[in-house]
């Protein structure tokens, strides 16, 4: 049984034994029975006595007188014929042994061998200095006697002086007397009249004896500390033992045996039956039961009943009848005595656990009951012990109400016993145990806990703050943020979103940011990511890599967010919350709280470099004042309800310990459970680093697809270090540009640029009659030379350094993405310190722009060879470019109409030459849903120019429809053109490589394809007239079409790529009038329904067979074709039926 091994379980209950003994001893002897009645009387005389034999007969007479004279109601004698045992006590050191022996001979003759004894003791002189240490043989009895004496003065007759023995001899008698009684029949508590040391009138003693006895008594009283038995040797001890045996077995027992059989008292009979070893019949427990019942119910004598129970229980226990013993003990418990009930219940509990198969739960239950009664009896220590022992059984099983009750009692009792630590821990258990109590109850428990806790704290006000159990802290949800809070938007200025604790963790986006950072770091390090690189983590949480010490920067705040949870139904009031930290040198200021639900954010400002360790939080824990009234529980002494609870708040701490991820790499780690470190809370404070803040001015939230908008970006260095190497990287480089050589182009400040075109424009005197104005530019200048995957765009800082405190505003052009919808565009700004730092080379700043685009124009273009049109210079190879522009705007954005303002070409080999008017749409206006068609003549670039051009040189030709030319070869038009080109180039490369892998048989096809290849890129520039808030705005924009193959249509935006499920149904007889026109019908053969899936731009052909019975004209266009997008449910019938009828004429064979 685990309980038995536990330290709290006590197998022995000495307090109960002592109670039992005291109880039995203090019981008055009753008339109806013979317990505490004397069986025998020992008459002792010293061998030093002048006439020992005479003394014996004197004593014998005295005994007789006491027993039979009615003057004495006490002591009680068992039988009239009391056994008298004559003992001659001989002092070995001083007495004459021969004389003693002769007297003894005389005694034997007179009283019989079995009725007398010669006891020789005191074999040495009382030499205190002797090294020989023999334990005081009387000590254990003397102690009891001294208790007896205190109370025995009041009553009882007086002592009969026995003899003139020395003090020690007399005492020896006293002790032996007791020893006899120990085995079985306890002695009376009352004073024995034969006892020496009693006051009063000894009725039949001479004066000298009287005075002597009195003086002896006083002597004894005065010398309670005297070592007794100092004259005894080991031999003496043996002699005494022998004497006792002799007396018991030769004298007492035969005597009792002779007399006891005459008695028929049931209790006595039962006891004696038990006492008789090897009795033929079993212990008659029912005798006892009847006796108890009679005592209790008929005699109403609880004392006798109790004695009977105590005896019987001991007997039953010795026979392993624990269940019966427990039942007996429990039956005696009653309302009238808490102490008795408590003791009995505890004994019953012990019975339950001592059973062959221990009844642990009944043990626990009765311990609780016992504890309760102890507590009522004012026995706090016993109560506490009982509850603690019971707790062993209930602990952790889920009987939470019971557990709470026990803990509460333990807490209270511990408190009143000033065991404050135990009290605190007991109350703490109630609070952290996912309490099922009502709110009012929880509130009461909480206040009680706080009160006790406060008392503990007051004991050691300067000690370390103890741990508080509430509220719970979800350590792993702790988040740490390095850096300043984001500034709120200031008018038109909008700060970069960067990172904040308000953003939820998103693994996808954090992966994206990591890729961006890796990329920009690679660019900054000539294409190689340094081995020391690891991604910057401004916000550490349970998802981040916390295996290394994070870097904090001196003079930049560290924010720690602690996640609290209150398991109780009552509110907890936290105040003066601050972080607990350890830092090697000097001062760091812990500061204030900002509470968001159950989360608290605490800031630290490191002022020195070094290693910081955030250890935990310190706070005052209190209750909300006056919320709940204290109910039936009652308060602790001194803890009065009401006003007291108002100020109930204690200061304590909780540690923040975060377990790292489970390690699972090595075999050892896999087989054992090991956790890696989590260093979230151990930042290394490094030297100052530059700190960049970025603001966006006039940054739009909504754009038309293709719209160009000019915004400004402000870069501010808020640190004390200059910064350099500023770059920005994004997965959507086609979205923005800082332009090239912009200084000369446009006003630099945002205020002066309002109402200006985003483009670089030139006013032409008169419309150029549709003839192209030609310029050229190199893609290298626009940083998009090689069509690299991702670009790191350098921010054109003046002198490429931003000094401390300096700020610069740069224009940034944006182009609305071609797809309509919401776009989240991530910018990652990268910068370095001018001074190279060993720990961290660079810093980053994030911004996420959210742009909503709406549909504007859709442009389709084809190019075809033109042989009819002659080049002015007579060279062949002219081409016609057809451009269809459709206004697809749904006018939700308030767009009234689009105006085409310019179409430009950009190519290494071709250029637009002039406009060919094929439509009447002279002013090129497009209202909603209108389409416009344009036709241009394209020619090869001038040969000589082309020769000197590097392969990256592009010729730009602008055909303008108004009187203002947008310089397409300059920023921002060219920037966006090149970016769209490079993103466009990414796609077909895959296609081409796929082609080349095919075998040589298709080489011819490749050649033919080569012939029809063309690289003509169109930029369609437009203005949109928008009415917004009753004001007319003009928006500008550009679309790009990349023409690569003669005769193949190209689009301004990639067509939707989707799989289509197609059903071709032949069975369906059409009921259209055309069908009726044909003569007769025909039959499709074979499969009549086909299901197929078409990938984007895939074409499939089906072979259908039909059987015609008659001659005639038939329409084969009867199959119905249904199609739907694979990821959608709705099916659409294609407009196949409306196409031309497929007629077939069947002639006679």
């Amino acid at each position: 049984m685990e309980l038995k091994e536990s330290s709290l379980y006590t197998a022995t209950t000495p307090w109960f034994e002592s109670y039992r003994e005291t109880f039995l001893q203090s019981m008055p002897a009753s008339d109806h029975e013979f317990l505490n009645h004397y069986l025998a009387c020992m008459l002792v005389a010293s061998s030093g006595e002048a006439e020992p034999m005479e003394q014996f007969s004197k004593l014998s007479q005295e005994q007789h007188r006491i027993q039979h004279n009615s003057d004495y109601s006490y002591p009680k004698w068992f039988i009239p014929n009391t056994l008298k045992y004559y003992v001659l006590l001989h002092d070995v050191t001083s007495g004459d042994e021969q004389r003693a022996e002769s007297i003894y001979e005389e005694m034997k003759q007179k009283y019989g061998t079995q009725g007398c004894y010669l006891l020789k003791i005191n074999s040495r002189a009382p030499n205190r200095a002797s090294d020989e240490q023999i334990p005081d043989p009387w000590s254990q009895y003397l102690q009891k006697n001294s208790i007896q004496h205190q109370e025995s003065y009041e009553d009882g007759p007086c002592t009969m002086t026995s003899n003139k023995n020395s003090d020690s001899n007399l005492l020896s008698l006293d002790g032996l007397d007791n020893e006899i009684k120990v085995d079985g029949l306890p002695n009376s508590f009352r004073v024995h009249p034969l006892q020496l040391d009693q006051c009063g009138d000894p009725p039949n003693t001479d004066g000298s004896d009287h005075t002597k006895s009195a003086s002896v008594r006083e002597n004894k009283k005065a010398s309670t500390g005297v070592i007794r038995g100092a004259c005894l040797t080991l031999t003496d001890h043996d002699r005494i033992r022998q004497f006792i045996q002799e007396f018991t077995f030769r004298g007492l027992l035969p005597h009792i045996e002779k007399t006891i059989r005459q008695l028929n008292d049931q209790e006595m009979a039962a006891v004696s039956a038990f006492l008789q070893p090897g009795a033929p019949r079993p212990y008659p427990a029912h005798y006892m039961d009847t006796a108890i019942q009679t005592y209790r119910d008929i005699c109403k004598n609880m004392v006798l009943a109790e004695r009977c129970v105590l005896l019987s229980a001991e007997i039953l226990k010795s026979q392993s009848k624990y269940s019966e013993a427990a039942a007996l003990l429990i039956r005696l418990t009653s309302e009238d005595s808490d102490l008795r009930s408590a003791l009995l219940l505890e004994q019953a509990a012990h019975c339950f656990i001592n059973m062959k198969s221990p009844m642990v739960r009944k043990y626990a239950f009765h311990m609780i009951l016992a504890g309760h009664r102890f507590s009522k009896a004012g026995q706090k220590k016993h109560a506490l012990r009982c509850y603690c022992q019971a707790m062993q059984v209930y602990k952790g099983k889920g009987w939470s109400l019971a557990e709470d009750h026990i803990n509460f009692t333990i807490g209270r009792q511990s408190y009143t016993l000033r065991q404050l630590d135990n009290a605190v821990s007991a109350f703490r258990h109630i609070l952290i145990n996912e309490s099922k109590q009502s709110a009012a109850q929880q509130g009461a428990f909480l206040r009680e806990y706080l009160y006790v806790y406060k008392n503990v704290n007051q004991l050691s006000p300067d000690g370390p703050l103890p741990q508080l159990p509430l509220p719970y802290i979800n350590s792993s949800a702790t988040r740490v943020f390095f850096g300043h809070d984001r500034r709120p938007a200031d008018g038109e200025k909008q700060a970069a979103t960067h990172i904040s604790l308000d953003q939820e963790y998103d693994s996808e986006s954090s992966q994206q940011w990591r890729e961006l950072e890796e990329h920009v770091v690679a660019v900054a390090n000539k294409g190689i990511i340094p081995s020391s690189f690891y991604p910057t983590q401004y916000c550490l949480n349970s998802y981040s890599d916390n295996s290394r010490f994070p870097l904090a920067v001196v003079e930049e705040p560290i924010t720690v967010e602690v996640a609290f949870r209150n398991p109780l139904k009552v509110p907890l009031l936290l105040s003066d919350l601050s972080l607990l930290w350890k830092f090697q040198p000097k001062d760091v200021n812990g500061k204030d709280i900002e509470r968001a639900r159950e989360r608290a954010r605490l800031k630290l400002f490191p002022h020195h470099i070094g290693e910081l360790h955030i250890l935990g939080v310190v706070y005052n824990l209190g209750t909300i004042q006056g919320s709940v009234t204290v109910d039936g529980i009652g308060a602790l002494p001194g803890c009065h309800t009401g006003k007291h609870s108002l100020s109930m708040s204690v200061r304590g701490r909780q540690d923040l310990e975060i377990q790292g991820p489970r390690l699972n790499n090595t075999k050892e780690e896999k087989t054992s459970v090991k956790y890696g470190p989590d260093r979230r809370l151990d930042p290394v404070v490094t030297e100052e680093m530059p700190l960049l803040e970025v603001f966006f001015i006039h940054f739009p939230t909504g754009l038309l697809c293709g719209e160009i908008r000019k915004a400004y970006v402000e870069f501010v260095n808020v640190s004390k270090c200059p910064l350099t190497g500023l770059k920005v990287v994004s997965k959507r480089p086609e979205f923005f540009t800082f332009g090239v050589n912009t200084a000369a182009l446009t006003p630099l400040s945002p205020s002066t640029s309002e109402n200006c075109s985003a483009y670089k424009t030139v006013v032409t005197g008169s419309p150029s009659a549709g003839t192209a104005l030609v310029s050229s530019a190199s893609s290298v200048d626009f940083g998009t030379s090689t069509g690299q995957q991702l670009e790191a765009i350098p921010v054109p800082l003046p002198d490429s350094v931003l000094l401390p405190g300096a700020s610069v505003q740069l224009p940034m052009w944006l182009r609305g993405p071609d797809e309509e919808g919401v776009h989240e565009i991530n910018f990652l700004f990268y910068y370095e310190s001018v001074k190279k730092q060993p720990k961290r080379r660079h810093r980053i700043l994030r911004h996420t722009a959210v742009i909503c685009t709406s549909r504007s124009l859709n442009v389709r273009a084809t190019v075809c060879r033109s042989n009819s049109l002659e080049d002015e210079e007579g060279r062949g190879g002219n081409m016609l470019v057809f451009v269809d522009v459709e206004n697809t705007n749904t006018s939700e954005a308030g767009v009234k109409e689009f105006h085409m303002v310019q179409v430009s070409s950009s190519s290494k080999h071709w250029q637009l030459h002039k406009s060919v008017n094929i439509s009447e749409n002279k002013d090129a206006k497009l209202a909603s849903r209108e389409k416009g068609k344009f036709c241009f003549k394209a020619v090869r670039c001038k040969q000589n120019e082309a020769a000197v051009q590097s392969s990256e040189k592009y010729t730009f030709a602008d055909i303008i429809f108004g009187n203002e030319q947008i310089i397409s070869s300059a920023s921002p038009c060219a920037d966006f053109f090149y970016r769209s080109l490079s993103s466009e180039l990414k796609k077909p490369q895959d296609l081409l490589s796929a082609h080349t892998e095919k075998h040589g048989a298709e080489e011819a096809v490749r050649l033919i394809q080569k012939c029809s290849e063309v690289d003509l890129n169109l930029v369609i520039l437009w203005k949109a007239y928008v009415v917004e808030d009753n004001k007319q705005l003009i928006l500008e924009g550009q679309h790009h079409v990349v023409l690569r193959t003669v005769g193949k249509e190209a689009f301004s935006q990639s067509q939707k790529q989707a799989d289509v499920d197609v059903i071709v149904d032949l069975r369906h007889k059409t009921t259209s009038p055309e069908a009726l026109d044909t003569h007769g019908s025909f039959t499709w053969l074979g499969q009549t329904q086909y299901k197929l899936q078409l990938r984007s731009e895939e074409s499939r052909s089906l072979q259908l067979k039909a059987c015609f019975v008659h001659t005639g004209v038939y329409n084969l266009g009867t199959p119905r074709v249904f199609a739907k997008l694979s990821d959608q449910v709705t099916e659409f019938e294609t407009s196949q039926q409306n196409s031309m009828p497929a007629l077939i004429i069947i002639n006679n064979a």
Partner: protein, 97 residues
């Protein structure tokens, strides 16, 4: 038509309460908080008897069913043999489902 108070608990393998339920007479809206723990004490102590397959008859009566060492215990302060028997049958049926 229950007039007395009832407390029903299903006790699991480790002497842990798996399910607890108090039934109170319609008049008494809420049982006294300071007595609720007594139900647990009694039910828990009764486990020793249940495990001995015994029935205890007292002021408060315990009934129990043992099934795959899940023990159902009901404490009640009024005598209502049939009702409790039916209740146990229902609970048992539900449990084995």
């Amino acid at each position: 038509t229950m007039s007395g108070s009832f407390y029903f608990v299903i006790v699991g393998h480790h002497d842990n309460p798996v399910f607890e339920m108090e039934f109170l007479p319609p008049g008494k809206a809420e049982s006294k908080d300071d007595h609720r723990h007594l139900n647990q004490f009694i039910a828990h102590a009764a486990l020793d008897l249940v495990d001995e397959n015994m029935w205890l008859s007292n002021n408060i009566k315990d009934c129990a069913l043992i099934f795959s060492h899940m023990r159902f215990i009901m404490l009640h302060d009024v005598r209502q043999e049939d009702g409790i028997k039916n209740f146990f049958t229902d609970v048992y049926d539900l449990y084995i489902k």
